[in-house]
């Protein structure tokens, strides 16, 4: 028994020191030096310099886009390359999106960046950060490579337009500034558009425990967000994080949680979202 405490101490120390997948200091403080309000301000500063990114045009009122999450890139990006290539080569896909947890470890973001740029050709890719993407203090690298994680863009069709809002939820809270920004966007812009779709990494409901204990929003923030989504007629909220498909409806808002797309996953998937004049439908696709 007298050696037990030394054994436990050594095991924990080795775990903490050697782990390159989980940044364990994050149990106590964020591995990203910037807090959520600072990250939001950096995203907004990037958006101001890249306002051309807020408009995507298409020649039909009905279109498709794809979305995938949780690639968790380690040293290879096979599934990410496949996903970007397949959507870039499909003329029916207007744009593709990646909803966070691009990587698992330091260096993974640049592998992802190369993979996207080598395969996307002229297609449009929209990206947001996930909690794993800010491990090991990678937020600044994320910003350098992908720019922003809080932004909106508009899909302009011949007769209408749709509003897309991307939120940064890496630490399980929008923070006060991003919350105000979201409220303002919804208040000012929602009623000018046909549909509104919100993209986040963190999912809103834990209807099963497959990823336990992955963290989500607090109850207070869940109540607030679900209420404003409903109040401003958000049609669909798409997120990842949980690695397990889930579909929930609450007061007119549809919450879709994507499966993961890791290279190690035997059945990686992405989703195709079909936007028509009457409805928004989705379909799971194998990678």
């Amino acid at each position: 028994m007298q050696y037990l405490k030394y054994f436990i101490f050594t095991t924990i120390t080795l775990l903490v020191v050697s782990c390159d997948k989980y940044d364990l200091q994050g149990f106590f403080m964020s591995p990203s030096k910037e807090r959520v309000n600072e990250r939001f301000e950096q995203s907004v500063a990037y958006n101001l310099e890249h306002q051309e990114d807020t408009l995507i045009t298409t020649n039909s009122d009905e279109y498709q886009f794809t979305t995938a999450a949780d690639f968790h890139i380690k040293t290879t990006a096979n599934n990410l390359s496949k996903y970007i290539k397949s959507t870039a080569n499909d003329p029916s896909i207007l744009f593709s999106s990646i909803l966070g947890d691009i990587t698992d470890q330091k260096g993974g973001l640049s592998i992802a960046f190369d993979s996207i740029n080598n395969n996307k050709a002229n297609s449009i890719v929209r990206i947001i950060a996930g909690n794993h993407d800010v491990y090991f203090d990678q937020w600044q690298e994320y910003c350098q490579l992908f720019g922003s994680s809080t932004y909106f863009f508009i899909v302009k069709t011949p007769n209408t337009s749709d509003l897309f809002i991307a939120l940064e939820t890496t630490t399980g809270s929008l923070g006060k500034l991003q919350k105000k920004w979201l409220e303002d966007i919804l208040m000012d812009k929602r009623n000018q558009h046909r549909y509104c779709i919100v993209l986040t990494h963190t999912n809103f409901f834990d209807t099963e425990l497959s990823q336990f204990p992955s963290g989500n929003f607090s109850l207070e923030e869940t109540a607030f967000l679900t209420n404003i989504f409903s109040k401003y007629d958000v049609n669909m909220v798409i997120n990842g994080h949980d690695h397990t498909y889930d579909y929930t409806e609450l007061n007119g808002v549809r919450y879709l949680t994507l499966e993961d797309a890791q290279d190690l996953d035997p059945e990686p998937t992405y989703f195709t979202i079909n936007v028509t004049n009457n409805e928004i439908t989705y379909k799971k696709e194998a990678l």
Binding site: L24, S30, F205, D206, E208, L219, E220, E221, L250, N251
Partner: protein, 251 residues
Amino acid sequence: MKLKYTLLIFFTITSYFIAPAQEIVDYSDFFKQREYPKSLLYMKLGYEHTQINGSNINTEMVGIHTPAKWVDIYGGFHISTRNLYQVAARGDFKWWISETRNLALRNQYTYSAYANENLQNLNMSLMLVYDQEHLYAAFGGYAQFFTNFFIKENTQRSYVWEPGLAYDFRTRIFKKAHIWNLGLQITNIRHFLVERSYSPNFILNGNYRLCSENDDHLNLLIEAGFQPSGIFHIVANYYSFFFNVGITCNI
């Protein structure tokens, strides 16, 4: 889905078929002197700062009625300057299962209504409790349902179901009956809220018996707490801080 129904059946069975023990262990002379039924009123004034709502002042009034040693019934409201109006009711049922080790089952039902956010929530939890003079530890599971008050036109009412872990760990430096006490608490259970498992509250608790030792007619309570967000994302950030001053009195 299987898990959902298994848990529902589990809660139902434990709720209806575990009879409350006739002899309840009272390890403290102080609590042996208590008479039932008894009722307490708890009033507090609090300050809270949250990541998404900033600073606010809040007040809470809770009536706690204990008709027998094995049940506490709570009812009350919480009002905050950030327009949070919450009413809630809660029932705590305790069945002592071991006289020698102070083991019990705690079965709790909490209903919360978030008037301003158009959301209501029912949480049912079942925990195994170890309770002694300097330590209280409760650990178990919960199932909770969400639904809205008002449903938009052409929309069907839906219910969202979530399972999770419920826990409440408290320490105190003196025995319970001491005239004052200080303790640490880690829990996801507040008066009218069972927070999700991955949102623990870290609380420093203090109390001072204003009448005398062994007298719980008037008790001053102070708590200062901290809640991180994203602790299980392993990217923990500050989420909220709260400071409450309150009193409980026998009525």
